[in-house]
């Protein structure tokens, strides 16, 4: 993930758009690829997409805000996803989410001020037998509890202090 705030490379954007020129109605694939590259959908990039596909910007906005995958703000360096599928809910997923909110001092959907952590709830990542599950970056933490939250965050916190 690159860029912070609204900065993004117009060159990279053009490369992505060119790749999709021959496709019919490729709005969602284009947006997914832009997000893959920049970590979120910058406003200016969406305007360029609208122009490129001959759509009204409002329709691109409409799609970008409709689907759960799309994000309009950048993520933290360590993205924390808490599974809120049914099995995880029954196994106490909500208590884990609340513990993470408390530990990170952010609410779900927010990014910490230093840009280190962001917290998101997701609906089922498909490993219900490990419920409740939390994903930090790409690592899956199975059978989470409020007590295990602090410990799970330690390596990511250390990493950020070392860099500072």
């Amino acid at each position: 993930m690159k860029g912070k705030g609204e900065e993004f490379s117009t060159e990279q954007l053009s490369t992505i758009l060119e790749k999709h020129r021959s496709e019919k109605n490729g709005l969602i694939p284009v947006l997914l690829e832009i997000q893959e590259e920049f970590g979120f959908l910058p406003r200016e990039a969406m305007k360029r997409v609208a122009e490129f596909l001959g759509m009204d910007p409002i329709d691109v906005w409409g799609v970008a805000t409709f689907f759960n995958q799309f994000r309009l703000t950048p993520l933290g360096k360590n993205h924390v996803k808490v599974c809120m599928g049914t099995a995880c809910h029954l196994a106490g997923g909500r208590l884990v989410l609340e513990a993470l909110e408390r530990e990170l001092s952010i609410k779900v959907g927010e990014t910490s001020e230093d840009g280190q952590f962001s917290l998101e709830r997701v609906a089922c990542i498909g490993c219900c037998m490990l419920a409740p599950v939390t994903v930090i970056k790409d690592k899956i933490y199975p059978k989470m509890t409020p007590f295990k939250v602090e410990e799970a965050l330690i390596p990511y916190r250390q990493e950020s202090t070392v860099e500072d």
């Binding site: 019919k24 109605n25 490729g26 709005l27 969602i28 694939p29 947006l31 997914l32 596909l53 329709d59 409409g62 799609v63 409709f66 689907f67 759960n68 995958q69 799309f70 809120m84 599928g85 049914t86 099995a87 809910h89 029954l90 106490g92 208590l95 609340e98 513990a99 408390r102 997701v122 609906a123 089922c124 990542i125 498909g126 490993c127 219900c128 037998m129 490990l130 419920a131 599950v133 899956i140 199975p142 509890t145 409020p146 007590f147």
Partner: protein, 637 residues
Amino acid sequence: MTFEEIREKAQAQWEGLKSITHVLVGTATCGRAAGALDVIDAFKNELARRSIDVPIIQVGCIGLCYAEPLVIISKPESFRVVYQNITPDLVPRLVEGYIVGDDPCLELALGTLEIDDRGTPTIPELPRFEHEFRLILRHCGYIDPENIHDYIANGGYHTLEKALKMRPEEIIESVKKSGLRGRGGAGFPAGLKWELCREAEGKTKCVVCNADEGDPGAFMDRVILESNPQEVIEGMIIAGYAVGAHKGYIYVRAEYPLAIERVGSALKQGEEMGILGDDVLGSGFSFHIGIAEGAGAFVSGEATALVAAMEGKRSEPRVRPPRLSQAGLWGNPTLLNNVKTFSYIPLIIGDEREGFASIGTEKSKGTAVFTLAGKVEYPGLTEVPMGTTLRRVVYDIAGGMRKGKKFKAVQIGGPSGGCVPESLLDIPIDFDSLRDAGSMMGSGGMIFMDENDCAVDTARFFLDFTTKESCGKCTMCRMGTLQLMSILEDICAGKAELKDLELLQQLSEDVKMGSLCGLGRSAPNPVLTTMRYFGDEYKAHILEKRCPALVCKDLIAYYILPDKCDRACEHCILVCPTEAIKGGKGEIKVIDQEKCSKCGTCLEVCPPEYNAVIKISPVSKLPPSKMEKESSAEGGG
């Protein structure tokens, strides 16, 4: 290459593999989450260290998720042994024991893998296999999903070859005769859908596979795509030939990256072998398949909404007619079926023995695939004949409830389904009987609840989900679910009155009536069924401010039993995030209810030998604290 040559090559490769020692590791998403890739690395290292050359093959999921990471060691002249919960540190033992030596390491084994007379792999040591009937799951976890030869050697694409020599009408007749009903949930007769699409006017028809599995707790489509994508592709090509389409799409949700990767590789191999492309198996019929990635919206599972998303629009359902088979993707006649529906096709077409139709009940033929999750002993995936009772699934396949807890209910079909209580465990599972019970087959996701799960909280959970996922097109769905949600929140918080139950009932009926698509029409099901079967629990929340399952936060309090608390232990004090626990060294610990955030950490850390922390509901039942006792004693005395 003719198909005969392809088949011979595949068979030779498969026999070659069977004649040497090899290792299979389940690496579907569930296996990976449990650490399967680390296990593979450990095998590679250990084998390299000993300079042994043994192929390690990544397979999909055999459905025994609780046993992941699952490893199968296959030796040509001996048993194939299935090992469960293998971690990297156990790998040297397996290599030393069964790859190098002849010790099958039984202490790590789950059973042996045998092939039954239908050619289906089974583990005879596990009683559940007696009750299962694996049709579309039969190769899952057994063949390499990224090697088309494995599929062909096990009977794959035989049906396609046969179908291409049949007339399209014959194929459709065969689907109709099988009694196959769409596995997306609604159970529409598949043959009829195919016929409508075949008869529709339009040059550029297409076939769409719906793999937008959005139910939070169902994952069978993911498992099929990750374990045996060729089966789905074969079904789609046959469908294309039957309805007269030359283009197909598999719409997969972006949350399933591994499924997308494995389908992509399967398509590429199909093209290379001439099974997909301009001249399918030399028949002159052209068929291409592409992948369309979904961006995450539960409503996209609805057929017309899915098509809208594929066209790059907001995924909103539209009024039918016209049916998709008349005007679907970009206005063209479109055949849209679920992953599982396509998977059955290769087993159905040209099957003179009518094997599929002989299984199941009168109106629901074949098998049903369910994911088993929640509070059961053996979560995973299963395939049973339609008409199997729920009791059999709970106790004989899923192993009963975990920790000997009491079965309370099973939620079938996720947010669109309903919950089925103990008293209905003997109903046969099929499309119609589940609907009569107020639930539905839906996605086929089963979530088992025990005595510690609250019916009201579960209904609230599902409503929270549908409220967020409602596309907003219909007022009753957009606003109605929100209102239902707010009533349920009041009940869970002990702020509701008895008359709110009537409102809840009425509004639920209204939302069902006033919504266009399946999302809104089924969203109140969890509320209606929990009210129907667990009405007492709703009343306890309202009248007594009591949550019988001790779940709803506002109605419970944490309490430390003075006679059980070990005075010397300070575990709870150290972990309490709000410093709500008082009590110095050697004193009994007491929770300050004003400060307690009810996170449950004290209960979690209290050593099992004391078990001093309990939950109490209603809060008014909380024993008075020592100070209160003293002051009341003074006042009274």
